[in-house]
């Protein structure tokens, strides 16, 4: 480990990612002194970890590891109560906290509390592991590949759940993984590390994908980094095209004027509530009034909350390569095209404002 220096803003997830042997786990374990630092310092909330008793420090920092590390001889409640018991909480307070945490991680307290880890599924165990790490509401959590031992389908679900949970609890999290996709999905900031504990780049996921610092980072994030960036953004994040929205029975001259103004060369038929019905054929705009003659249905319909990568996939499969975008009520919000997505990939991501009151700085 050499000259690693990081700052993690409070309430954010910092992912340490890199090939095996790059020292990401070592760096994480230095924070709660599972590995002692020989040089440099680590500050948590402005205070050096070296000034604190190791065991006491660790009780203040949530810890969840690969294989989850639940104690098989203790019930779910017993596992979650580990640190509260060390801190001498009374029984009533512990029992209440256990139930509260189980609910937080979407487990039924009455059903789960008295079970042993051996009776739980992998996903349930993982949730109990997170609940245990959260037991005394630590402001900082360390997580080492917490989803490592879980099958891909459940992993995806647990990651989503974890992000939902994080929006609620707003912890400062140092998260270790070897999986760049997981890092991009989970992290507010990503530290890409090279073998030997060197920091290759520390940036937001978007920055990392847009401007890899060197060949190593470029290779590590993969050849499909443009697609990965699309996975980070939602349709509502980008500037959509304007379509000529036309209602049946409207004067053709008006419709043609709108068409000249629009970004999309085809007129879109909408109903009275502005819901897209389909793309009009050329013949529909002949004569005096617009006739309801469609050249193709309004497919695919894209929602504002769709992830750009999924929307692109839908567009590629469609006939027109245009996708009407609707809001939660089904009303038209704009049009997504492959060109729009392409342009978006060329514009730099917006800067994330920095604000650090809990910091982790390691150097050795």
């Amino acid at each position: 480990m050499e000259r690693l220096s990081l700052e993690v803003p409070a309430g954010e997830i910092c992912v340490l990612v890199g090939p095996s042997g790059c020292g990401k786990t070592t760096a994480m374990r230095m924070v709660n002194r599972m590995i002692d630092i020989t040089e440099g310092d680590i500050l948590v909330d402005g205070k050096s970890v070296k000034d604190r008793n190791a065991a006491e420090l660790r009780r203040d920092i949530g810890y969840a590891i690969q294989q989850i590390g639940l104690f098989p001889h203790l019930t779910v409640a017993g596992n979650i109560a580990t640190v509260p018991r060390l801190l001498g909480w009374d029984k009533k307070r512990i029992a209440e906290r256990v139930d509260e945490l189980l609910e937080l991680v979407s487990l039924d307290p009455a059903d789960t509390r008295d079970r042993y880890p051996g009776q739980l599924s992998g996903g349930q165990r993982q949730r109990v592991g997170v609940a245990r790490a959260l037991a005394v509401d630590p402001p900082l959590m360390l997580m080492d590949e917490p989803f490592g031992a879980i099958d891909p389908i459940n992993r995806e679900r647990l990651q989503n759940e974890f992000l939902r949970l994080q929006r609620e609890i707003r912890k400062t999290i140092v998260f270790v993984t070897h999986d760049i996709d997981e890092a991009i999905k989970i992290g507010d900031r990503i530290a890409v590390m090279k073998v030997g504990g060197k920091l290759a780049q520390y940036a937001t996921p978007a920055e990392l994908l847009m401007y890899p610092a060197d060949r190593f980072v470029e290779d590590f994030v993969g050849a499909d980094r443009a697609l990965k960036r699309l996975a980070l953004q939602r349709v509502r994040d980008i500037d959509l095209w304007k379509a000529a929205t036309v209602r049946a029975g409207e004067p053709v001259a008006e419709a043609r004027a709108k068409l000249d103004d629009a970004d999309v060369p085809i007129a879109l038929l909408v109903d009275d509530n502005n819901r897209p019905k389909g793309w009009l054929s050329e013949r529909a705009l002949q004569g005096e009034r617009v006739r309801e003659e469609l050249r193709s249905p309004a497919e695919p319909v894209v929602e504002l909350d769709d992830v750009l990568r999924d929307a692109l996939s839908d567009l590629l499969e469609s006939e027109t390569h245009y996708g009407p975008v609707v809001d939660a009520n089904g009303c038209l919000a704009g049009v997504l095209s492959i060109e729009v997505i392409g342009q978006n990939l060329h514009t730099p991501p917006e800067e994330v404002p920095h604000g650090a009151d809990a910091a982790v700085i390691g150097e050795e």
């Binding site: 590891i65 001889h73 079970r115 051996g118």
Partner: protein, 239 residues
Amino acid sequence: MNAALLHDLVLAQVEIRSRSGEGCVQENGFCPSWIADNFDRYVSPFWQHVYLTLVSVAIGFTIAFLLALVAHRRRWLTGPIVGVTGVLYTVPSIAAFLLLLPLTGRGNNTAIIALVSYTLLIIFRNVTTGLRNVPEEMRDAGRGMGLTERQLLWRVELPLAVPEILAGLRIAVTTTVGLATLAFFAGAGGLGQEIYADISFKSNVVAAGGLAVLLAAVLDLFILGTQRLLTPWRRAARA
């Protein structure tokens, strides 16, 4: 020690019983009615046998358990401890009783010292193996949550090692019940004394030997039951 001397010693320590009775008894056969009539004579040797076994295993367990805890912290001690207890374990049992006689005299003390020395290796080995088999991620999780080494030992490592520890205890108890049948060489009585007192009489051997087997089985089941009580998580995981 030659055979004749050993024979003399045994004779010197065992009072040969004279018995009278009808055909079956005269022919040294297996006579249930004789056993029923003479059962009283086995009761006090039986309790002596129980006493020797329990005291020896309790002392042996305490010593071996403490040694295992020490060796758990200081790994380098494991080799020397296994070496010493291993030598004790390999001393032929009759020799052990006889060798101790000049030092500690006849009686319970000598028998118990010898019996304890046989339990040490078994229990020590099982406790250390049990502690060593605790998965590393359990230790890591415990330390990471802020357990001190002592808390880790008592709250995580030892509970997880209970199955192996009690497995060792079961072997030690069964072995000790068997070895205690030789305790009369040290003048400590027990069921062995009854067996040797009239070794050619089947009824006698079956009654005394049977009690020893029964004792071993009962103690074994008792420890097995204790293990079940202490490790509810193992059954739960299988269900």
